[in-house]
Protein backbone atom coordinates (compact mmCIF):
# COMPACT_ATOMS: atom_id res chain seq x y z
CA UNK A 1 0.00 0.00 0.00
CA UNK A 2 1.64 3.21 -1.15
CA UNK A 3 1.01 6.34 0.90
CA UNK A 4 2.69 9.61 1.84
CA UNK A 5 2.61 10.94 5.38
CA UNK A 6 3.54 14.34 6.68
CA UNK A 7 3.28 16.20 9.93
CA UNK A 8 1.86 19.71 9.76
CA UNK A 9 2.11 21.30 13.18
CA UNK A 10 0.45 18.78 15.48
CA UNK A 11 -1.49 17.06 12.72
CA UNK A 12 -0.46 13.85 10.95
CA UNK A 13 -1.73 13.65 7.36
CA UNK A 14 -1.75 10.30 5.57
CA UNK A 15 -2.36 10.51 1.82
CA UNK A 16 -3.20 7.21 0.19
CA UNK A 17 -1.52 6.72 -3.17
CA UNK A 18 -3.64 3.78 -4.26
CA UNK A 19 -6.62 3.81 -6.58
CA UNK A 20 -8.51 1.10 -4.73
CA UNK A 21 -9.51 0.74 -1.11
CA UNK A 22 -11.40 -2.53 -1.30
CA UNK A 23 -11.55 -6.11 -0.08
CA UNK A 24 -8.22 -6.85 -1.73
CA UNK A 25 -6.34 -3.98 -0.16
CA UNK A 26 -7.93 -3.47 3.29
CA UNK A 27 -5.48 -5.74 5.14
CA UNK A 28 -2.55 -3.73 3.81
CA UNK A 29 -4.38 -0.50 4.49
CA UNK A 30 -4.97 -1.42 8.12
CA UNK A 31 -1.25 -1.98 8.60
CA UNK A 32 -0.23 1.13 6.68
CA UNK A 33 -2.61 3.38 8.64
CA UNK A 34 -1.29 2.13 11.99
CA UNK A 35 2.21 2.80 10.72
CA UNK A 36 1.38 6.30 9.47
CA UNK A 37 -0.60 7.22 12.58
CA UNK A 38 1.77 5.72 15.19
CA UNK A 39 2.85 9.25 16.16
CA UNK A 40 0.77 10.06 19.22
CA UNK A 41 -0.44 13.49 18.22
CA UNK A 42 -4.20 13.29 18.68
CA UNK A 43 -5.32 14.67 15.32
CA UNK A 44 -5.13 12.56 12.15
CA UNK A 45 -6.16 13.33 8.60
CA UNK A 46 -6.67 10.70 5.91
CA UNK A 47 -6.54 12.11 2.38
CA UNK A 48 -8.44 9.81 -0.01
CA UNK A 49 -8.12 11.91 -3.16
CA UNK A 50 -6.27 9.14 -5.03
CA UNK A 51 -8.98 6.57 -4.31
CA UNK A 52 -11.35 5.97 -7.23
CA UNK A 53 -12.89 2.73 -6.03
CA UNK A 54 -14.01 1.85 -2.53
CA UNK A 55 -16.31 -0.98 -1.49
CA UNK A 56 -18.00 -2.11 1.71
CA UNK A 57 -14.78 -3.70 2.93
CA UNK A 58 -12.98 -0.39 2.41
CA UNK A 59 -15.53 1.63 4.32
CA UNK A 60 -15.53 -1.11 6.99
CA UNK A 61 -11.77 -0.71 7.38
CA UNK A 62 -12.23 3.02 7.93
CA UNK A 63 -14.71 2.28 10.72
CA UNK A 64 -12.11 -0.09 12.12
CA UNK A 65 -9.50 2.67 12.05
CA UNK A 66 -11.86 5.07 13.82
CA UNK A 67 -12.42 2.49 16.56
CA UNK A 68 -8.70 1.76 16.78
CA UNK A 69 -7.89 5.44 17.30
CA UNK A 70 -10.57 5.63 19.96
CA UNK A 71 -12.37 8.54 21.61
CA UNK A 72 -9.30 10.58 22.43
CA UNK A 73 -7.72 10.77 19.03
CA UNK A 74 -9.48 12.55 16.23
CA UNK A 75 -9.73 11.30 12.61
CA UNK A 76 -10.88 13.44 9.72
CA UNK A 77 -11.29 12.41 6.09
CA UNK A 78 -10.77 14.57 3.01
CA UNK A 79 -10.50 14.47 -0.77
CA UNK A 80 -13.37 12.02 -1.34
CA UNK A 81 -14.34 11.59 -4.96
CA UNK A 82 -18.12 11.63 -5.61
CA UNK A 83 -18.38 7.81 -5.93
CA UNK A 84 -16.54 7.39 -2.64
CA UNK A 85 -18.58 10.12 -0.96
CA UNK A 86 -21.73 8.33 -2.05
CA UNK A 87 -20.78 5.17 -0.15
CA UNK A 88 -20.68 7.16 3.09
CA UNK A 89 -24.10 8.54 2.33
CA UNK A 90 -25.68 5.18 1.43
CA UNK A 91 -24.25 3.41 4.48
CA UNK A 92 -25.18 6.40 6.64
CA UNK A 93 -21.58 6.49 7.88
CA UNK A 94 -21.35 10.15 6.94
CA UNK A 95 -22.80 10.87 10.38
CA UNK A 96 -19.95 8.94 11.98
CA UNK A 97 -17.03 10.51 10.13
CA UNK A 98 -15.91 14.10 9.84
CA UNK A 99 -15.47 14.66 6.12
CA UNK A 100 -13.95 17.85 4.67
CA UNK A 101 -13.04 18.91 1.16
CA UNK A 102 -9.30 19.24 1.55
CA UNK A 103 -6.51 18.50 3.98
CA UNK A 104 -6.06 22.28 4.34
CA UNK A 105 -9.61 22.45 5.70
CA UNK A 106 -8.83 19.66 8.16
CA UNK A 107 -5.64 21.40 9.32
CA UNK A 108 -7.51 24.68 9.76
CA UNK A 109 -10.12 22.80 11.81
CA UNK A 110 -7.41 21.35 14.04
CA UNK A 111 -6.12 24.87 14.71
CA UNK A 112 -9.47 26.30 15.72
CA UNK A 113 -10.12 23.21 17.83
CA UNK A 114 -6.84 23.77 19.64
CA UNK A 115 -7.37 27.49 20.23
CA UNK A 116 -10.90 26.74 21.49
CA UNK A 117 -9.57 24.19 23.99
CA UNK A 118 -6.78 26.59 25.00
CA UNK A 119 -9.35 29.34 25.60
CA UNK A 120 -11.34 26.91 27.71
CA UNK A 121 -8.30 25.62 29.58
Amino acid sequence: MRFASEKVGDVVVMSLEERRLDSRTVAEFREAAREAFRDDCGFYVLDLSAVGFMDSAGVGALVGLLKYLGRHRRLELCGLKPTVRKIFRLTRLEKVFTIRDSKEACIAASRSLRSASRARG
Binding site: D55, S56, V59, V63, T83, I87, R92, V96
Partner: protein, 147 residues
Protein backbone atom coordinates in the same frame (compact mmCIF):
# COMPACT_ATOMS: atom_id res chain seq x y z
CA UNK B 1 -24.27 -1.92 -30.26
CA UNK B 2 -27.92 -2.17 -31.20
CA UNK B 3 -29.84 -4.40 -28.85
CA UNK B 4 -31.24 -7.64 -30.21
CA UNK B 5 -32.92 -10.35 -28.20
CA UNK B 6 -29.74 -12.38 -28.20
CA UNK B 7 -27.31 -9.72 -26.99
CA UNK B 8 -25.70 -11.25 -23.98
CA UNK B 9 -22.26 -11.86 -22.58
CA UNK B 10 -21.62 -14.80 -20.29
CA UNK B 11 -18.48 -14.75 -18.17
CA UNK B 12 -17.38 -18.05 -16.63
CA UNK B 13 -14.69 -17.78 -13.99
CA UNK B 14 -13.17 -19.78 -11.18
CA UNK B 15 -13.85 -18.35 -7.72
CA UNK B 16 -11.12 -16.19 -6.19
CA UNK B 17 -11.07 -12.67 -4.82
CA UNK B 18 -8.77 -11.63 -7.62
CA UNK B 19 -10.92 -13.09 -10.40
CA UNK B 20 -14.10 -11.45 -9.15
CA UNK B 21 -12.40 -8.03 -8.91
CA UNK B 22 -11.25 -8.44 -12.51
CA UNK B 23 -14.74 -9.48 -13.56
CA UNK B 24 -16.30 -6.34 -12.07
CA UNK B 25 -13.83 -4.26 -14.11
CA UNK B 26 -14.53 -6.26 -17.26
CA UNK B 27 -18.25 -5.70 -17.00
CA UNK B 28 -17.61 -1.95 -16.57
CA UNK B 29 -15.48 -1.93 -19.70
CA UNK B 30 -18.20 -3.80 -21.54
CA UNK B 31 -20.69 -1.11 -20.46
CA UNK B 32 -18.46 1.53 -22.01
CA UNK B 33 -18.07 -0.43 -25.24
CA UNK B 34 -21.83 -0.99 -25.46
CA UNK B 35 -22.46 2.69 -24.90
CA UNK B 36 -24.27 2.40 -21.61
CA UNK B 37 -25.18 6.04 -21.39
CA UNK B 38 -24.67 6.85 -17.74
CA UNK B 39 -21.18 6.87 -16.17
CA UNK B 40 -22.85 6.92 -12.74
CA UNK B 41 -24.81 3.78 -13.56
CA UNK B 42 -21.58 2.08 -14.66
CA UNK B 43 -19.95 3.00 -11.34
CA UNK B 44 -22.97 1.58 -9.53
CA UNK B 45 -22.78 -1.69 -11.43
CA UNK B 46 -19.03 -2.04 -10.83
CA UNK B 47 -19.52 -1.62 -7.09
CA UNK B 48 -22.60 -3.83 -6.77
CA UNK B 49 -20.96 -6.61 -8.77
CA UNK B 50 -17.82 -6.39 -6.65
CA UNK B 51 -19.97 -6.69 -3.52
CA UNK B 52 -22.16 -9.55 -4.74
CA UNK B 53 -19.22 -11.47 -6.20
CA UNK B 54 -17.13 -11.04 -3.05
CA UNK B 55 -20.05 -12.48 -1.08
CA UNK B 56 -20.11 -15.49 -3.39
CA UNK B 57 -16.41 -16.19 -2.87
CA UNK B 58 -16.54 -15.46 0.85
CA UNK B 59 -19.88 -16.93 1.90
CA UNK B 60 -21.19 -19.28 -0.80
CA UNK B 61 -17.77 -20.86 -1.44
CA UNK B 62 -16.28 -20.03 1.99
CA UNK B 63 -13.09 -18.81 0.32
CA UNK B 64 -12.53 -21.92 -1.82
CA UNK B 65 -10.83 -21.13 -5.14
CA UNK B 66 -11.55 -22.42 -8.62
CA UNK B 67 -15.26 -23.10 -8.09
CA UNK B 68 -17.55 -22.00 -10.93
CA UNK B 69 -19.14 -18.57 -11.08
CA UNK B 70 -21.16 -17.40 -14.07
CA UNK B 71 -22.19 -13.86 -14.85
CA UNK B 72 -24.77 -13.30 -17.59
CA UNK B 73 -24.80 -9.67 -18.64
CA UNK B 74 -27.35 -7.89 -20.80
CA UNK B 75 -26.81 -4.25 -21.57
CA UNK B 76 -28.85 -1.53 -23.20
CA UNK B 77 -28.01 2.13 -23.30
CA UNK B 78 -30.47 2.83 -20.46
CA UNK B 79 -30.73 -0.50 -18.65
CA UNK B 80 -28.64 -3.40 -17.44
CA UNK B 81 -29.42 -6.81 -16.07
CA UNK B 82 -26.91 -9.23 -14.58
CA UNK B 83 -27.46 -12.77 -13.33
CA UNK B 84 -24.82 -14.24 -11.06
CA UNK B 85 -24.84 -18.01 -10.70
CA UNK B 86 -22.79 -20.15 -8.33
CA UNK B 87 -22.92 -23.68 -6.98
CA UNK B 88 -22.05 -22.79 -3.39
CA UNK B 89 -23.93 -22.80 -0.11
CA UNK B 90 -27.40 -21.26 -0.15
CA UNK B 91 -28.19 -17.92 1.45
CA UNK B 92 -29.03 -18.28 5.13
CA UNK B 93 -32.77 -18.94 5.49
CA UNK B 94 -33.01 -19.37 1.70
CA UNK B 95 -33.49 -15.66 1.17
CA UNK B 96 -31.56 -12.45 0.66
CA UNK B 97 -30.21 -10.64 3.70
CA UNK B 98 -32.43 -7.59 4.14
CA UNK B 99 -29.46 -5.23 3.90
CA UNK B 100 -30.51 -3.06 6.76
CA UNK B 101 -27.64 -2.15 8.99
CA UNK B 102 -28.75 -0.28 12.07
CA UNK B 103 -26.26 1.46 14.29
CA UNK B 104 -26.08 4.28 16.75
CA UNK B 105 -23.57 6.74 15.34
CA UNK B 106 -22.66 7.93 18.85
CA UNK B 107 -21.62 4.51 20.08
CA UNK B 108 -18.12 4.25 18.65
CA UNK B 109 -17.36 0.82 20.09
CA UNK B 110 -20.58 -0.64 18.72
CA UNK B 111 -20.13 0.49 15.13
CA UNK B 112 -20.28 -2.38 12.62
CA UNK B 113 -17.18 -2.91 10.48
CA UNK B 114 -19.01 -5.15 7.98
CA UNK B 115 -22.46 -5.87 6.67
CA UNK B 116 -22.57 -2.83 4.41
CA UNK B 117 -22.45 -4.87 1.20
CA UNK B 118 -26.11 -5.76 0.80
CA UNK B 119 -27.08 -2.26 1.86
CA UNK B 120 -25.04 -0.84 -1.03
CA UNK B 121 -26.55 -3.31 -3.49
CA UNK B 122 -30.16 -2.90 -2.40
CA UNK B 123 -30.04 0.87 -2.19
CA UNK B 124 -28.65 1.25 -5.72
CA UNK B 125 -30.33 -1.46 -7.82
CA UNK B 126 -33.94 -1.39 -8.99
CA UNK B 127 -34.33 -5.15 -8.63
CA UNK B 128 -32.43 -7.63 -6.49
CA UNK B 129 -33.84 -11.16 -6.69
CA UNK B 130 -32.52 -14.38 -5.25
CA UNK B 131 -33.46 -17.89 -6.19
CA UNK B 132 -32.05 -21.30 -5.23
CA UNK B 133 -32.48 -23.72 -8.10
CA UNK B 134 -30.84 -27.08 -8.91
CA UNK B 135 -28.17 -26.57 -6.28
CA UNK B 136 -27.31 -23.12 -7.63
CA UNK B 137 -27.64 -19.64 -6.21
CA UNK B 138 -29.09 -17.31 -8.81
CA UNK B 139 -28.91 -13.60 -8.05
CA UNK B 140 -30.50 -11.17 -10.47
CA UNK B 141 -29.62 -7.48 -10.43
CA UNK B 142 -31.38 -5.01 -12.67
CA UNK B 143 -31.48 -1.26 -13.10
CA UNK B 144 -33.00 1.21 -15.56
CA UNK B 145 -31.62 4.73 -15.72
CA UNK B 146 -31.51 7.82 -17.84
CA UNK B 147 -28.39 9.23 -19.45
Amino acid sequence: MSATAGDQVRFSIGSSFENVATLAEEVSDLCKNRKVSSPDAIDVLRLCLAEALNNIVEHAYEGAEGRPIFADVRLKSDRYEVMLIDEGKPMPGGKLPDGSCEFDSDELDELPEGGFGWMLIRSQMDTVEYERRDGCNILRLEKTFSA
